[in-house]
């Protein structure tokens, strides 16, 4: 194991800001993209349902 304590782990040998800035932004971007893709599918399904309700009536 490379790290003796949590502080040391977060410090990353002085590069903490760069390393965690990279990993944090990556995680945030991926979560945001995944959620927005799921939202788009839900909305598309809801829109299709709305378009079809009331069909068959004049």
């Amino acid at each position: 194991m490379n790290w003796q304590s949590l502080d040391q782990f977060l410090h990353m040998g002085g590069y903490g800001l760069y390393v965690w800035g990279s990993y944090g932004a990556t995680l945030a971007l991926m979560l945001a993209e995944a959620l927005s893709a799921q939202r788009r599918r839900r909305l598309a399904l809801a829109a299709a349902r709305d378009a079809h309700t009331g069909e068959g009536q004049p």
């Binding site: 390393v19 990279s22 995944a34 909305l43 378009a51």
Partner: protein
């Protein structure tokens, strides 16, 4: 009736199959992501030159690889849709573009955060960085163009032309470190020589690559399903889908 069924078979079959595949893609993403982070931070040693800053490689290289690979796959589907006029091809291409753009942004962002402590600068206009930036512009142009044209077929054809022209840029990115003098280091992995890095570092990078790969499949499948629903909303199978009160049909 028979002709109609075959016409609509592909998108409806894709919708169901992709829906079944997405949870598995997420499981692989989580599994390989955790394994990659464990090896990358717990086992791989500190680099004797770069200290711990090098650990950015475990996401930087997979993101850069995916940014190029997704572009080529996108251009392939766009071209296929253009030549054969198949319904699903253009939808795949459009579903891929935002994820490719995101991978490009991640590659550029992590590259800047890696460049600052090791090169002393966030950004230089050298061959590798500039061509990767052009890739981002290509994705942006493709998305803007296909979104701006209302008719799906015309949007797909215009997008295909742009995607194909832009594909020239991908080998330029890949070989830029060999063709020009650049601050960027050479390839970490080459087809013809042994990897120039410690095996635990390589293991972590490959685990993260599988993670990013599975992530891309999960998100692209989800987005492709949304696009299918948007473009096929008038078809019988979508109509049937919205009437089924299953968990699949619920918003």
């Amino acid at each position: 009736m028979a002709t109609r069924l075959t016409t609509f078979a592909a998108p409806s079959r894709f919708y169901a199959a992709a829906g079944a595949a997405v949870p598995w893609c997420w499981a692989i993403t989580a599994l390989f992501g955790l394994a990659g982070l464990w090896v990358g931070f717990g086992i791989a040693p500190t680099d004797f030159q770069q200290g711990d800053a090098y650990r950015i490689i475990f996401i930087h290289v997979p993101a850069a690889w995916m940014s190029m690979l997704i572009y080529l796959v996108m251009a392939f589907w766009a071209a296929l849709g253009w030549m054969l006029n198949t319904r699903m091809s253009a939808m795949y291409a459009r579903a891929l573009a935002p994820t490719g753009a995101l991978m490009t942004v991640i590659a550029l962002w992590t590259g800047a955060l890696w460049g600052k402590p090791t090169w002393g600068t966030w950004w230089v206009w050298d061959a590798r960085l500039t061509s990767e930036f052009i890739l981002l512009l290509m994705y942006g142009g493709y998305i803007a163009l296909t979104e701006a044209i209302d008719d799906p077929r015309r949007a797909a054809n215009a997008g295909a032309l742009l995607a194909l022209v832009g594909a020239v840029n991908v080998p330029v990115i890949y070989f830029s470190v060999r063709w020009w003098n650049t601050l960027h280091q050479g390839s970490s992995i080459s087809m013809t020589a042994a990897p120039k890095m410690a095996s635990t570092m390589l293991t972590a990078m490959l685990l993260m690559t599988v993670c990013f790969w599975a992530y891309s499949f999960a998100v692209v499948f989800t987005r492709a399903r949304a696009i299918v629903l948007e473009q096929e909303s008038d078809t019988d199978w979508v109509r049937a889908l919205t009437r089924t009160p299953t968990s699949e049909g619920r918003p």
